[in-house]
């Protein structure tokens, strides 16, 4: 076993994280688009010369593998000796460049020291539009990656220090807001240069060998830590199944089959048996699957393990070709996050069978609910407003799940009602927690969210997509399922229409409203073990009705009645 220098490792890890922080901050500070600047839908990572991930700044788990896919595939497709000092690569393509989806554009900068590549630094940002059929570029109903906007394999955007303005212009004008693309891409390139300079300074100040030894130690340490956590779990095979609600377009549910194999500190996630690829855009490429898998693994095995190459080492992932988790070109992949959430669910369910009880987590809403409104502002300018709606979180042994919270591969913020009402001719009629959506149990799942949005004018178009109506969060250890999602259309005249979770471009009249209820979190343990006081508190607080309490907690209710 390699001996690590614990002191240098920690000091240099901090210094390296300082560099990723710095690049991330520059990205956030200097970018123009809301997505990067405010939603922090971006990530920064440093790699060694072999392309091994060393450290990363990350706010959204889905982006874990974003830059990594770009770097690893770059090293497979290009010879190092063909890369010149000052070259910078751009890429986004899932099939050619280890991408996540077309909106996530990565910029990769090889870092030269004494004429040799010693590191790579990369960042990735979600660009709100990269062209294609639909504004915003991704939509679950798309059926080909060619419809999802511009595809970029690894190409040099900077050659030996010279920005390729022509290429930048070409990319930008394949999107709906070229100025914003140009600004943000330039910021991505500049942020990397700053990080590269910091890496060079670090290496010249402390010696390249010492920095690289510390990096190697960090990987050794992380792998050792991951293996130790896995060795604490009993060897065996643990199976689970999770379902999507459809295939992006209306159609059959898709099954995700998972076998978790743990053997002496090695972990295999085998997705053999998973359904064939979807027609719509909910397929997942190799690297997004890796991000989803590690979102689940980190949750279950070691929530604070440093994200680097060492963490991946004990883990093998098998996803058969032609399935929703490894689709054949040119399947659409833009909305891979729907499926990613179901992958996380499958992992949670499998690990519930092997983890000590106090570390298991019941499944959550596991959705990526989208509501999109298109229309005209008062000024006559068109607007697009997209909202993601969270749901209930699964319960744990000692705690009820959080209400109305993003889970799994996403963690994006909501839009304040006041902000959106100032900007768009819409009104938030209700934004709250839905009664009787918690998964009952010894500990309860978190409550789902109601988001009810009306239009103040004629002609606004609404589209929605949410899973969780057909596949609610399943309770564990005797706990009940979380509430199912639902969608209602409220017409101005008072008529209410129940809809499937799937609305495409419905035109709203003035006074109409769309009311979405997301799924709730699942319960943990048998409901009869919940105390009367806790049941009464939930009733008093209105999270559950008396009727729900009587139905799901009859023990507690009868005990209460007996008092």
């Amino acid at each position: 076993m390699t001996e690590i220098n614990a002191i240098d490792m920690e000091v240099f890890n901090n210094r390296l994280l300082s560099i990723t922080d710095e690049v991330m901050n520059t990205l956030i500070r200097s970018s123009f688009s809301t997505n990067i600047k405010e939603r922090k839908d971006a990530s920064v990572a440093i790699f060694d010369k072999k392309g091994r991930l060393i450290c990363q700044a990350l706010y959204i788990p889905m982006l874990l593998s974003g830059v990594m896919g770009g770097v690893e595939t770059l090293l497979k497709t290009r010879k190092l000796e063909d890369i010149r000092e000052g070259d910078v690569f751009i890429c986004n393509d899932v099939y050619l460049a280890g991408g996540s989806h077309n909106n996530d554009i990565a910029i990769i900068t090889p870092v030269f020291i004494d004429d040799k590549i010693e590191y790579f630094i990369g960042n990735i940002g979600h660009h709100s539009d990269v062209g294609g059929v639909i504004p915003g570029s991704t939509d679950h109903i798309l059926t080909s990656v060619f419809a999802e906007g511009i595809r970029i394999p690894h190409v040099r955007i900077v050659r030996e220090g010279q920005l390729d303005e022509d290429l930048l212009y070409m990319i930008a004008h394949n999107t709906r807001d070229p100025m914003e693309r140009i600004l943000d891409l330039k910021v991505q390139i500049a942020a990397n240069s700053q990080g590269a300079e910091s890496l060079r300074k670090l290496s010249s100040g402390h010696g390249l060998a010492r920095v690289q030894k510390s990096m190697a130690d960090l990987l050794t340490y992380t792998e050792r830590r991951m293996r130790q956590r896995l060795q604490e779990l009993p060897n065996g095979e643990y199976r689970s199944i999770a379902w999507t609600d459809d295939e992006g377009v209306p159609g059959p549910r898709k099954k995700i089959c998972l076998t978790v194999r743990i053997l002496d500190g090695d972990l295999t996630l085998d997705f053999e048996g998973t359904d064939t690829q979807a027609k719509g855009a909910i397929n997942m490429g190799q690297y997004p699957l890796l991000a989803a898998a590690f979102c689940g693994i980190n949750m279950m095995v070691d929530p604070s393990i440093p994200a680097n190459f060492g963490m991946f080492q004990p883990v093998r992932i098998n996803a058969p070709v032609g399935t929703i988790l490894n689709p054949k070109f040119p399947a659409a992949i833009g909305n891979r996050e729907y499926t990613a959430q179901r992958v996380v669910r499958a992992i949670t369910l499998a690990f519930a069978q092997v983890l000590p009880r106090d570390r298991a987590v019941a499944p959550s809403a596991d959705i990526n609910t989208g509501m999109a409104f298109y229309g005209m502002r008062k000024s006559g300018e068109p607007f697009v407003y997209v909202e993601t709606v969270a749901g209930g979180v699964g319960a744990t042994l000692h705690k009820d799940g959080m209400h109305g919270t993003q889970v799994g591969t996403t963690n994006t913020s909501n839009t304040p009602a006041e902000s959106l009402e100032i900007e768009f001719p819409l009104i938030v009629r209700e934004y709250g927690l839905a009664t009787d959506t918690v998964g009952p149990g010894r500990t309860q799942g978190g409550a789902a969210i109601i988001r009810d949005i009306g239009s103040l004018v004629d002609g606004v178009s609404v589209s929605t997509k949410a899973d969780g109506k057909k596949s609610p969060a399943p309770g564990i250890f005797g706990g009940g399922d979380g509430g199912r999602s639902s969608l209602e259309y409220h017409r101005a005249d008072g008529e209410v229409e129940e809809l499937e979770m799937f609305v495409v471009d419905r035109i709203m009249a003035k006074g109409d409203a769309v009311r979405l209820i997301s799924p709730g979190g699942a319960g943990f343990g048998p409901p009869e073990e919940r105390s009367r006081t806790e049941v009464n508190c939930s009733v008093r607080d209105g999270f559950i009705s008396r009727g729900f309490a009587d139905e799901h907690y009859p023990e507690s209710a009868s005990r209460a009645a007996a008092q």
């Binding site: 210094r15 300082s18 809301t34 340490y221 969270a390 959080m402 209400h403 913020s413 909501n414």
Partner: protein
């Protein structure tokens, strides 16, 4: 000749309450320290004031009394505020609970957002609604407000918040609901969101307003007790309280808006540092306040503390201008430990004041950053506090040796390593705040205070590339001194989100004028004389489509000049501006300032010499990168005269702090008696 007058500044900390007394004639500053009394912090203040009086100060000559307090913050952290009720617009009772629908930790689901300060059954919905344009689409259901009042009365609610959607601009319903509640619940304080913080974005405004309610009754009780105690001592000056952005508020304002005191303590430290560094010739500085459990860092830009309009207090967002202090869990008491896969960490767990570091002999058994400093000889190996507090260096060394065995390194390497890790942590925080604002640290000074700031300052400066370190006088009582240097101030704001045009610019100017009138009324009520009143007009604006606004100080009525200023701020903050995107106004803001603080006064002359100040030498480990063990000259700061210069390796000891100079640093005492440390080689 006028009678001798004194001003008193107080900082109530977790362990100690510090008092700084300045003689207005001579400029002489005296410091006092007394143990804090968390059950009623005003008791410690009284004890401290008794010390001041016992030292010969006539209480009647105390002309001004200001204090920084953690009463509000502690009430939130410990959740010991008042049973609070909320009434809100139908459809929004869960705004507090959903927050921004984000989870605090990406993968650890056992970490939850804190539960709302008002339980769900006390969050009552009322039919009422304005649109964003001010159309009253649902009138206020006054009967429902009365019914809510009845419910609150029955539940024993002692404070009520009223938070309606779009009330930042259309406050009619909130005001009416407030009147009804006041009639129905005459003894219950009511906080209106349109009054506490009239800025749009409902979650943050509601959170701030509810926190204000939650704090009001007990904060008022505390301030009343404080007032009684000071009056009983014969002090006629009415206590002022430092708000989170480093200005002072009267009793009445502090009672009405206790939420504005959440960062009271750190804010005073930043104000003090800003004055001290500006006077010393360093308008740009990084504050570096290292205490027992944490390190606070913040930026001073052009002589003013950088502020933030929004931050979290114990997980709850508070929207009001606050010093932008970044806190990390690394301080003198932070524990060094080795995890099961072999990594060495420093913090975030702390041994605190009790059991404390091993070397303090108060029962601590786990090695801390302080123990590493004792091992290295950087802290006096015999006793601290000028000899008053004996330490056990051997015990500290023993604890370090235990860690050394676990990681297979020597004890010296380990102690050095623990400190290097702590320094790397602190450095990361400093880099982070400076890069966020696009600052180049080469142009900054590090102002080190708190008990352990000067101990680590040169090492942190080396790590981040800051060329100068400033250690103010009595660095352990910087916050109390800051109180003495604070002006009366308050920010008045109104959200009005509107695209910039000739017409809207006129409206914005009118809004600003209304705010200025409001601000003037307030300054009058605070008793600030006309010639000391000052107003800063700020317009917050953004590009249309963005959600983040920048702060533009605009003393001009000319729209084009404002646009140029907006571009200029964008250049400063983001590194560029874009000319062909439309601009949107978000807030008008007026900062009202009453310039009551005395300027910093030059301290009296010390007549001793550098030789007098030399205590001897001791063996100090300056770090493997600085030559390891070296013989360092030890100085007594109190006896160092102005212009004294010292070359490292050296140690400068004083009552509450120790400054360390590796061989690459020199020190000079400036006219203000600050120690100015400079790196010898700029390439180091």
């Amino acid at each position: 000749m006028a009678q001798k007058q004194f001003r008193v500044g107080v900082d109530v900390g977790g362990t100690f309450t510090d008092l700084s007394l300045i003689d207005e004639d001579t400029g002489e500053v005296y410091n006092f320290k007394t143990p804090s009394t968390p059950h009623d912090p005003s008791e410690a203040i009284e004890n401290g004031l008794k010390q001041v009086i016992a030292a010969g100060v006539d209480p009647a000559t105390i002309a001004h009394f200001g204090h920084g307090t953690t009463v509000a913050t502690n009430m939130i952290i410990e959740r010991k505020g008042t049973l609070t009720g909320l009434i809100t617009t139908k459809g929004f009772r869960d705004t507090l609970e959903i927050a921004r629908q984000q989870r605090p930790h990406l993968y650890d689901y056992s970490i939850h957002r804190p539960a709302p300060l008002v339980e769900r059954w006390l969050r009552l919905e009322i039919a009422e609604r304005f649109t964003a344009d001010g159309d009253e689409i649902i009138p206020l259901d006054e009967d429902a407000v009365r019914a809510a009042a009845a419910k609150f009365r029955e539940a024993g609610v002692a404070a009520v918040a009223v938070c309606f959607v779009h009330a930042y601009r259309f406050d009619g319903h909130e005001k009416r609901a407030g009147e009804i509640l006041q009639q129905e619940l005459p003894n219950v304080p009511i906080s209106l969101s349109s009054d506490v913080q009239p800025e749009f974005r409902e979650f943050e405004r509601f959170s701030t307003t509810v926190m204000n309610s939650y704090l009001t009754p007990k904060m008022a009780g505390y301030l009343d007790r404080l007032m009684r105690r000071t009056q009983a001592l014969g002090i006629r000056a009415v206590p002022h309280t430092v708000h989170s952005n480093g200005g002072l508020m009267s009793m009445d304002t502090a009672k009405a808006y206790p939420v504005r005191t959440c960062l009271s303590g750190p804010a005073a430290g930043v104000v003090g540092s800003a004055q001290v560094t500006l006077a010393a010739g360093f308008p740009n500085a990084v504050t570096f306040d290292v205490g027992g459990t944490s390190t606070d860092v913040s930026l001073i830009l052009n002589g003013r503390g950088a502020y933030t309009p929004l931050r979290e207090v114990a997980g709850y967002p508070v929207r009001c201008p606050m010093v932008d202090v970044h806190v990390i869990g690394a301080g003198g008491g932070s524990i060094a430990w080795v995890d099961d896969a072999g990594a060495l960490k420093a913090g975030p767990h702390s041994a605190g004041a009790v059991p404390g570091p091993v070397g303090y002999m108060l029962g601590g058994t786990e090695p801390t950053i302080t123990d590493a400093n004792l091992h290295m000889g950087r802290l006096n190996p015999v006793a601290l506090l000028n000899g008053a507090m004996p330490v056990d260096q051997a015990a500290a060394k023993g604890a370090i040796a235990d860690i050394a065995a676990k990681i297979g390194a020597s004890a010296d390497e380990t102690a050095d390593g623990i400190l290097r890790i702590a320094v790397a942590n602190m450095a990361r925080a400093i880099r982070s705040i400076s890069v966020e604002r696009g600052c180049d640290l080469k142009d900054f000074a590090l102002v080190a205070f708190g008990g352990a700031g000067p101990l680590h300052a040169t090492f942190v400066a080396d790590e981040v590339g800051i060329p100068t370190v400033l250690v103010p006088e009595a660095p352990g009582t910087m916050c109390a001194r800051g109180v003495l240097l604070s002006d009366v101030s308050r920010s008045f704001v109104k959200s009005h989100v509107i695209a910039l045009s000739e017409e809207s610019w006129g409206e914005v100017l009118k809004e600003a004028a209304r705010l200025t009138a409001e601000a003037e009324e307030w300054l009058v009520s605070e008793g600030v004389p006309d010639q000391l009143r000052q107003y800063i007009r700020v317009i917050e604006a953004r590009y249309i489509g963005q959600n983040f606004e920048v702060r533009v100080e605009a003393d001009t009525d000319d729209k084009e000049a404002f646009i140029r200023a907006f571009y200029h701020v964008n250049d400063d903050v983001y590194g560029y501006h874009v000319e062909d995107r439309d601009i949107e106004i978000v807030n008008a803001r007026v900062e009202a300032i009453g310039k009551i603080a005395n300027p910093l006064e030059e301290p009296p002359v010390v007549t001793s010499t550098v030789e007098d100040a030399t205590l001897g030498t001791r063996s100090v480990h300056m770090g493997d990168d600085n030559g390891g063990w070296t013989e360092a000259v030890v100085f007594d700061r109190a006896r160092l005269p102005v212009d004294a210069t010292i070359s490292g390796p050296a140690i400068i000891e004083e009552l509450t702090a120790t400054t360390v100079l590796p061989a690459t640093w020199t020190a000079r005492v400036d006219n203000w008696r600050n120690i100015i440390l400079t790196r010898k080689r700029l390439d180091a």
